[in-house]
């Protein structure tokens, strides 16, 4: 069992606060800052509470941390951040970033992100991550000094480029396929869930209209009055109950969203493999063509058509000295190329090995988390049904007294 950071340190994102400040263009802006609290976990025998350290971070700093991790650990499925903007909203839910409910759910999401990184066997050992949690000032400079930005730009370009790999590792191709499917199906599910939530909200809230009309009607009835009035009260309770129910469901939706974003991280690892493989294939191709050139020059035969060859035929051959010089250059390049190819091959194999290890770890985590999420969804439904039974039992009693 690796001793990851999460076991040694308690990490929470305990508060969110609205701030105003000046941005890069010296314009006033409002943003939310999140309080990260950390505390060393003491052994239970001591019974003493260690002090809590805390610092404030904003969302953009979390993004910076994640981008750093993405670039520095391309073979790791890096945990995702909660969404930047509210997506999959249904009508009652606000799409506003400053909405307190959105901020609250984001706070939970950010805490979850930190815990995921802290319990990852590789990522938790990263110094930049540790400083993110413990060092308020100068952290941004420290990250930039690693120079990861340069790597980030080329990586981003590569991730978006299209190219054809001749011999990818089949497992990665299948995995990429899977991550696409996962992304597609979870998006679809979240969209429909939002619509279902909207409709369910409507059903419950419309029952609230009973309350007022029952009350007004009961005023003209002698025997029916009490039954009507009290039934109306229960209908109000029923209508109000949906707010809590749907709020709980949002947390379930957030759990699914995490894996929606995880799918992207998964695809990034697959793409990295493709990149490396493509690089390898290009290098091998290049080496082969150089070897061929060399052979041609040495033997004087021309197996492949080349413009140079044609021009030299038309305008006369090179001198033996020139040819010798060329061959020498090529031989040097070939040697370099073979070394590079060897190291690229090694790199590729290492990458596949370590990436696949993390992917296995990720798969287990995913299966466990999603199963738990589905169970929690069932628990929520059960609770909703029980509340419904209670309210309608009460209402039925009132109706029967009418």
């Amino acid at each position: 069992m690796e001793d990851c950071l999460a076991k040694k340190m308690e990490i929470t994102v305990s508060e969110a606060e609205k701030r105003t400040g000046r941005n890069a263009m010296n314009m006033q802006e409002t943003y939310t800052a999140y309080l990260i609290e950390t505390r060393a976990v003491e052994s239970q025998n001591e019974g003493q509470c260690s002090p809590v350290d805390s610092l404030w971070r904003r969302y953009s700093e979390f993004e910076l941390l994640r981008n750093y991790l993405l670039v520095t650990y391309p073979h790791i499925v890096v945990p995702p951040l909660p969404e930047k903007r509210a997506d999959f909203v249904w009508h009652k839910l606000s799409a506003d970033n400053m909405d307190p409910d959105f901020v609250e759910r984001r706070r939970i999401g950010l805490e979850n992100f930190l815990l995921r990184v802290a319990s990852h066997p590789v990522l938790c050992q990263d110094k930049i991550f540790y400083s993110f949690l413990t060092q308020e000032g100068g952290w941004k400079e420290m990250v930039n000094e690693t120079g990861f930005q340069l790597k980030a730009d080329s990586r981003l370009k590569a991730l978006n480029a299209t190219f054809r790999v001749k011999n990818p590792d089949k497992r990665f191709t299948e995995l990429k396929h899977y991550s696409d499917e996962l992304q597609s199906v979870i998006s679809h599910l979240l969209r429909v869930r939002a619509r279902v939530a909207d409709r369910l909200y409507g059903v419950y809230k419309v029952h609230g209209n009973y309350g007022r009309v029952f009350s007004e009607w009961s005023a003209i009835e002698k025997e029916m009055g009490d039954g009507l009035q009290s039934a109306g009260h229960h209908m109000d309770v029923y209508a109000a109950s949906i707010d809590d129910i749907l709020e709980e469901e949002e947390h379930y939706a957030d759990q699914l969203k995490e894996y929606l974003f995880y799918a992207e991280a998964l695809r990034a690892v697959c793409r990295k493999h493709e990149l490396m493989q493509y690089d390898l294939e290009m290098a091998a191709q290049d080496l082969t063509s150089k070897k061929q050139q060399c052979e041609e020059l040495a033997t004087g035969t021309m197996r492949t058509f080349s413009l140079k060859g044609m021009t030299s035929k038309l305008f006369g051959q090179e001198t033996p000295e020139q040819r010798e010089a060329k061959i020498k250059v090529l031989e040097e390049q070939i040697q370099e190329g073979e070394e590079q190819l060897k190291s690229k091959n090694l790199e590729g194999r290492d990458f596949v090995k370590s990436a696949w290890a993390d992917i296995e770890r990720f798969k287990e985590q995913k299966n466990h988390d999603l199963k738990e999420a589905l169970i929690s969804y069932a628990v929520m439904q059960i609770s909703m049904c029980k509340k419904g039974i209670q309210v309608w039992t009460n209402a039925k009693e009132c109706f029967s007294k009418m």
């Binding site: 679809h188 599910l189 209209n209 589905l374």
Partner: protein
């Protein structure tokens, strides 16, 4: 006048829909004195008739009875909507201050229900069935002669009978006069009781119309919810196709959602079969009752105007006295009839509302209980798996 306004059988009603005449006996509620119903009516089997001039629907009306005044104990006739309209107007004519049950409307304006759609015909059939049964349960109306003819006469007999009696225009005139007299600022000698009834009906009418809208709105929301739910379950099944370990859990959730979806469809159906028709019936009833109160006022104003005329003309005192005497009797009978029928109506209304809303509560309870059972059994299956997994991991 031989109007029986006794309240001995004030509780004779049938809130539920009997399926066949023979099952009707079971539907009847026995009060302190077990009273045997002796008239059983069903309306069913709508049939389309196409002639050169028009297309119309007839309904089969089956009557089973043990009453002496009926020649036979079973009758089967075909009636169209027009015939029901005729019956209603005859009853109103004969008993202007009795509460004649409502007929379904001629056309449904709201919604996209077409004139001859299956849904429309079925809704109408149920309402017509209720109409006849309410009349059968009414202590006075049940013995009405036109009612008997409606139930028993063959088509040609009915049309020849219809041609007798005051025409449509005179009936219209009666109602117009009734409305006009009430527009003229009410009746000055209206007994307190009827003013109270009027006030009650005004509020009741408002509230029942609001309830009608709410009930329809609820139905609409439930249907929209059902439509979305239909799509929700299958996504989980789709997802399970790309998974291995969690495929069973996903399929389990899909199955639960599908079952809940079916349960919600049942709940919707319950609403449309019970609450919506009852509330609609009472919307119509509120109009009927306002009309009855107006007619009573009109009968009273006939008397009042004669009394005024007498006060001004000393001559023909005897003649007037006789007329006034008759009118006084008329007013007294009308008032008594209405009072009794009003009490009966109120009791029925209370009962109908109680049973309709209790039925709504029951539907919702069944819905939630079904959903609860589904999710609990899913949860149990997952926990069993979890324990099995844990046991597996613990093994060396």
């Amino acid at each position: 006048y031989l109007q029986d306004t006794s309240l001995a059988d004030a509780n004779s009603f049938s809130p539920s829909m009997p399926i066949s005449p023979s099952s009707m006996i079971n539907q009847y509620k026995f009060e302190d004195e077990p009273e045997l119903r002796d008239l059983f009516i069903t309306v069913d089997d709508p049939e389309s008739h196409i002639t050169a001039i028009e297309t119309f629907i007839t309904y089969r009306v089956i009557t089973k009875t043990s009453r002496g005044e009926f020649d036979s104990c079973e009758y089967e006739v075909r009636r169209r909507y027009q015939d029901f309209l005729w019956l209603k107007s005859k009853l109103e004519e004969a008993h202007p201050t009795l509460i004649i049950p409502p007929l379904p409307e001629k056309f449904i304006m709201k919604g996209m229900v077409e004139r001859f759609s299956d849904e429309f015909i079925e809704t109408r059939r149920k309402a017509l069935h209720k109409f006849l049964n309410r009349i059968a349960d009414h202590p006075t109306l049940t013995f009405n002669e036109d009612f008997k003819i409606f139930l028993t006469a063959q088509a040609w007999e009915l049309s020849s009978h219809k041609k007798q009696g005051p025409g449509l225009l005179s009936r219209m005139g009666q109602t117009v006069r009734a409305v006009a007299s009430s527009v003229r600022g009410g009746v000055k000698n209206r007994p307190e009781m009827f003013t109270e009834m009027n006030d009650y009906m005004e509020t009741f009418s408002q509230k029942i119309n609001v309830l009608d809208k709410i009930a329809h709105r609820i139905y609409k929301e439930e249907r929209e919810y059902f439509n979305e739910m239909k799509e929700y379950g299958p996504i989980h099944t789709l997802w399970s196709a790309s998974e291995e370990d969690i495929a069973d859990s996903l399929k389990g959730v899909a199955s639960c959602i599908d079952k809940c979806c079916k349960a919600t469809e049942k709940r919707m159906a319950g609403l449309s079969e019970n609450l919506l028709p009852i509330i609609h019936e009472y919307v119509l009833y509120s109009e009927i009752l306002m009309g009855v109160l107006k007619r009573r006022d009109q009968i009273q104003s006939e008397l009042d105007s004669k009394v005024d005329a007498l006060a001004n003309k000393k001559a023909d005192k005897d003649l007037f006295s006789e007329e006034i005497g008759k009118l006084e009797d008329k007013v007294e009978c009308a008032n008594n009839a209405l009072k009794a029928d009003w009490d009966r109506w109120k009791q029925n209304m209370q009962c109908d509302m109680r049973s309709a809303f209790t039925n709504v509560a029951d539907n919702n309870l069944h819905y939630y209980e079904e959903c609860l059972a589904t999710w609990e059994s899913f949860l149990a299956s997952q926990t069993v798996d979890r324990h099995r997994e844990e046991d597996f991991e613990d093994r060396p």
